[in-house]
């Protein structure tokens, strides 16, 4: 198994190791640190991923009466060393995607390939081996750490489950190394979570995510519970660690400014579907999907001079229920461009025909029949 190559959780860069594993050459991986990374072999390939949660009626004889279509056929790739941001409003299925990739939830249909292996079909020992390489950082640093365990136990627990990563006698030192890597005093190893502030706790969560020396870290709203002044510290730390360990991040958040800051590519989700996906410049400066445009235009910009200059698209109504999504395009009930075609034909996520030939930044995948470029972020 390829995983056995990686025995150490030391802070030494493991670029070379990972490169052999991934059929990405060492030079490419190093170059990837400062260049856009969407080339080469994807480390994670998601294909038509579906998760439906059954809605049942009755107590003794449960009868399925419908399904909440939390994730309804999404596909994307995650490359080595890149950050893919996923944005969307509550209920769009972004956290369900995180759980599916972690195999905390079983997919209803679709595949997730990690190095050519479909992890949705794995179980037992094979699944455990894969899980070591895909770790997670949670949103709420107050509830995701066990209050009765010391920091040392919280981070060290990962080594109980994967003893091959660190031999028993070595664990305490490894934990202290990890604390040092995330900028905490290694002497705090015997403290409890309540003795730390929110930002420090999130650092503990990150240290736990790093403990097994994973290749992919799934971050579900990692900074949204933090104060503004602390948020920047944690974001900077995450970027530093990514460079140091050549990590791939799937960064799920609702704060569009933060996602732009940290991401190489961004995917916009709406009601269980991917509406638009592209590089950060493509999505933020040249969005073509009306939902992305509305979402971006609604973000308040910390600049009072911009408030007159920017176009605001105020959507009417609320997000429809994922148990009963609209036919055709899911966004059509709130879209100002919607026509008959939108109710009957589901728009596919593809580069719009009209932009295909040209080399504009608008030529990226967008699931809209009437994709049009519109700058809503910059003041006119």
């Amino acid at each position: 198994m390829a995983e056995l190559d990686k025995k150490s959780v030391d802070a030494t860069p493991n670029v070379a190791e990972v490169a052999t594993v991934n059929a990405v050459t060492g030079t490419e991986a190093v170059a990837a640190l400062d260049a856009p990374v969407s080339q080469g072999e994807p480390i994670l390939q998601v294909r038509n991923l579906v998760k439906h949660f059954p809605l049942t009626q009755g107590i003794l004889f449960k009868k399925q009466v419908g399904a909440v279509k939390a994730v309804d056929g999404i596909s994307f790739d995650l490359y080595q060393g890149e950050t893919l941001g996923i944005v969307g409003e509550s209920g769009c299925g972004k956290s369900t995607v995180a759980k599916l990739l972690m195999t905390l939830e079983r997919a209803t249909a679709g595949e997730v390939f990690y190095k050519g292996q479909d992890i949705t079909k794995l179980s037992g020992r094979a699944l455990k081996a894969v899980r070591r390489n895909i770790q997670m950082v949670f949103q709420d640093p107050y509830t995701s750490l066990n209050p009765r365990m010391t920091v040392g136990d919280i981070i060290g627990e990962t080594f109980e489950i994967h003893p091959e990563v660190a031999p028993k006698g070595d664990r305490r030192r490894k934990v202290q190394d990890l604390l040092d890597v995330v900028g905490l005093n290694p002497e705090y190893i015997n403290r409890y979570p309540h003795q730390f502030s929110g930002g420090q706790r999130q650092r503990i969560g990150i240290a736990r995510g790093l403990a097994l020396n994973p290749e992919i870290i799934i971050c579900d709203e990692p900074v949204s519970a933090l104060d503004v002044s602390v948020q920047a510290q944690v974001i900077n730390l995450m970027e530093k660690l990514q460079d140091e360990f050549n990590l791939s991040y799937l960064f799920i958040a609702h704060d569009l400014s933060i996602v732009r800051h940290i991401s190489d590519r961004v995917g916009v989700m709406y009601l269980g579907k991917m509406a638009e996906i592209g590089t950060d410049t493509q999505i933020y400066d040249h969005p073509t999907h009306p939902y992305t445009q509305a979402l971006l235009s609604a973000v308040p910009v910390p600049d009072p001079d911009a408030r007159e200059g920017r176009e605001r698209i105020i959507l009417s109504g609320d997000v429809p229920s994922p148990a009963n999504p609209p036919s055709g395009c899911r966004f059509r009930t709130r879209c100002w461009k919607a026509q008959d075609k939108c109710a009957t034909e589901v728009p596919l996520l593809a580069i719009p025909e009209r932009f295909k030939a040209s080399d504009t930044p608008a030529a990226h995948e967008s699931a809209c029949h009437f994709a049009e470029e519109k700058d809503v972020v910059h003041a006119a």
Binding site: E89, P300, V301, P304, D318, V319
Partner: protein
């Protein structure tokens, strides 16, 4: 002036000692004006608002000094029943979490109508009609059919509209909105902020908007008060503060948020942690985190220096802060 808070002090008596949550806050709001109170958790922005509304938990809280002048009357000297009459009729509050602020076992119609029954002595039937009118006014679709629905049957944005309707019901002259859109998605947040601003203009109310979101402030506020460790560190009209902050804390905050319209370099991070209110640092509370701190900052509490006619900054080096941009 509609509301004037003068040298307000609030402390909480806890097992570990006295937490000084508010340490001499001054601010004022005129009719039709929007004041944004900006601060991080523990800065005292919500506690100040609760003291103004008269809904502070006492004990453990205690107002240890200051005055709250509302229409030239000191609220802190009023009897409990007089304050109750003011609350709801003349000033109202909108909370962050609409689901936990609404009563889950009463229909929204009953909760809205209750205002009119209690304060205006209306009959149940008239109150219900008023409730429908209010729901229409905050643009809840099919108000007549939905007036009997319970809070959980509404979406987050609709619930926040109901909260706004409730606050507006008796046409108060002051509204305090404590993080009114923090729990909402951005597209819904824009709808709700628009509605709030429109109703404010219509009724010419004073609005105190408590928030940590610098973007929301830039969108709606006229003036801004930045709080840190229970004190106001800077007050300013909204345009000036974004262009040239006069306090290192404000400056640090503005620099530490990523921008939507450009891809930034590494984020500026304010070092260190917000202070523990049980042990607020001596001198300027911000000095352990401040890049400009000098010896004087460790010993002397900075007063609110006058920067210009409309601006104040509680920094010994406000001039240097302004120049160093």
């Amino acid at each position: 002036m509609l509301l004037e808070v003068r040298d307000l002090h609030v402390e909480f008596h806890t097992r570990d000692g006295v937490a000084k949550a508010v340490n001499g806050v001054n601010y004022s709001v005129a009719e039709g004006e929007t004041l944004a109170v900006l601060g991080e958790s523990g800065s005292g922005k919500s506690v100040t608002a609760q003291a103004v509304m008269g809904i502070l938990d006492m004990p453990p809280g205690r107002i240890s000094g200051g005055e709250i002048l509302f229409k030239d009357r000191d609220l802190l000297k009023l009897k409990a029943d007089e304050r109750r009459r003011i609350r709801g009729q003349e000033m109202a509050m909108i909370f962050q979490d609409a689901l936990s602020s609404l009563n889950p076992v009463l229909s929204v119609g009953q909760q809205l109508g209750e205002m009119f029954v209690v304060h205006r002595g209306m009959s149940r039937g008239d109150a219900r009609a008023k409730a429908i009118e209010l729901m229409d006014r905050v643009r809840i679709p099919a108000a007549r059919e939905r007036v009997g629905d319970f809070p959980h049957q509404f979406s987050g944005g609709m619930r926040q509209r109901i909260m706004i309707a409730m606050a507006m019901a008796l046409e108060p002259s002051l509204i305090i909105a404590d993080e009114p859109t923090t729990a909402l998605d951005v597209t819904v947040q824009a709808q709700v902020m628009d509605l709030l601003a429109e109703l404010q203009r219509e009724l010419n109310m004073g609005l105190i908007l408590i928030t940590h979101d610098l973007g929301v402030v830039a969108d709606v506020a006229d003036k801004i008060a930045v709080m840190y460790a229970g004190r106001i560190v800077e007050t300013s009209p909204v345009h000036e503060i974004y262009q040239a902050p006069a306090h290192p804390y404000t400056k640090g905050l503005l620099r530490s948020i990523p921008r939507l319209d450009q891809k930034g370099q590494e984020l500026y991070a304010i070092k260190g942690l917000p202070p523990n209110l049980l042990h607020i640092p001596p001198g300027c509370a911000f000095h352990p985190r401040c890049p400009m701190a000098q010896a004087v900052c460790r010993t002397d509490v900075p007063p609110l220096y006058t920067v210009d006619e409309e601006r104040r900054s509680a920094c010994h080096f406000w001039k240097e802060t302004l120049d160093a941009r």
